[in-house]
């Protein structure tokens, strides 16, 4: 369930720091981490690109006042809310279709080694399959790199809740990774 609003000021934990305006020129600093988070939420690189794009567009709609050090947590929350908004509009979301066989795929020069990219795709697809609360905790802490406290603030839950959800998310992910490996090992060469 999405958080109701991605309003400007974050939770009470940061209340001692003065609020300041989110600098649009520094949003790019977080792009890589948000992209990985989006990929893990969506399970698809293409959807992740769109989600990050939409997230930035949403953030830039109006000035945002944040407390110091809360930029990334705030962006993650907007990303998450935008993800849910996009799911609601899924029927209208552009979806890549298969291309005719006679057309060659374009080389993606931005991609790293194919094997590494494949592994990342598999990993993020597995994360995307986790139940929402578990996936969000894992994305916030392990993918984005927020502290437990920051993650709790970003997702508006208690820190203990984040920790428990994270434990269970990792447990499920490890199991899925094991299944994936077993499946690959069993694939005839």
């Amino acid at each position: 369930m999405p958080i109701a609003a991605d309003h400007a000021l974050t939770g009470a934990a940061g209340a001692t720091a003065p609020a300041r305006r989110l600098d649009p020129n520094h949003l790019g600093d977080h792009l890589d981490r948000l992209y990985r988070a989006a990929w893990a939420l969506c399970g698809s690189r293409e959807d992740a690109e769109d989600l990050v794009q939409d997230t930035y567009a949403r953030v830039l709609q109006k000035p945002r006042m944040l407390r110091s050090g809360e930029d990334l947590g705030y962006l993650l929350r907007v990303l998450r809310n935008t993800h849910f908004s996009r799911l609601r509009a899924a029927a209208r979301r552009p979806r890549a279709d298969p291309l005719p066989d006679e057309l060659d795929r374009v080389e993606d020069r931005s991609a790293s080694a194919p094997e590494a990219a494949l592994d990342a795709s598999q990993l993020y697809a597995l994360i995307a399959e986790l139940p929402d609360p578990f996936r969000e905790a894992l994305v916030a802490v392990d993918v984005v790199g927020l502290s437990y406290r920051e993650a709790a603030r970003a997702l508006r839950v208690r820190e203990a809740t984040i920790t428990t959800r994270l434990y269970r998310a990792r447990q499920r992910l490890a199991r899925s990774l094991g299944d994936e490996r077993s499946a690959l090992a069993g694939t005839p060469g």
């Binding site: 792009l31 931005s110 990792r170």
Partner: protein, 255 residues
Amino acid sequence: MRTPGRHPRATERDLARLADGTLDPARREAVERSVAGSGELQSRLRDQRRAVDAVRAHAGVGAPPALRLRRPVLAVPGRHRPRLLGVGVAGALGALVWALAAIGGGQAGLTVADAATLAARPAIAKVPEPPDDHATLPHLRAAGLPFPYWEDRFGWKATGVRNDDVDGRALTTVFYRNQGRRIAYTIVPGTRLPGAPGAETIRRSGIVVHASTDNRRLIVTWLRRGHTCVLSGTGVRLDTLLELAVWRSHGAVPY
């Protein structure tokens, strides 16, 4: 929540933090002792570490360059906003909100703006070169219509293609490039799209073309055999898009 078994002192939270190195040092020793004495806890900790390691192994995955270019800058207050078509963009914020509303829902049906957003996406396949003297690209049709080959005549080289499903319609977009500028030609099969808000209507070579702007992107739309064609680009002149849109090569490009 406590982990069941003979070592109740190591909780799930302890194991989570032990695995990623954030467990309080004062607590760490006791937890490690518990784990050392329990095969079950060792197995659980292995799972935690396995997941952490898997995610961390991909911490170097970065956003693709195309996404960096796509980050919207329109809403930054004070930026210069170009005026096009004498209509002008109704304010960067307004344009952005309008575009988001068009994409994100709220109104039913595909719009010109929806189709034009595909222009910002990457190509996912190459376009084959046509034989000499051909006016259309080979092997590429949408709603039975071929895409024009513009390189020899206008200098616009077809560089790639992508297919998307938007609102239940299969859209095909061909990207063209000329002197560093990129334009996108999308054929939208089926019922004609409603005109964009504020679009100007222009008649050129007997064809009715609608011109509008969206997020600094100049967009022209027209019909080919009842299907909507959307041609758009940034940094290109309206005359250029109009000339391309209505080029029929003496009937070799079917309209």
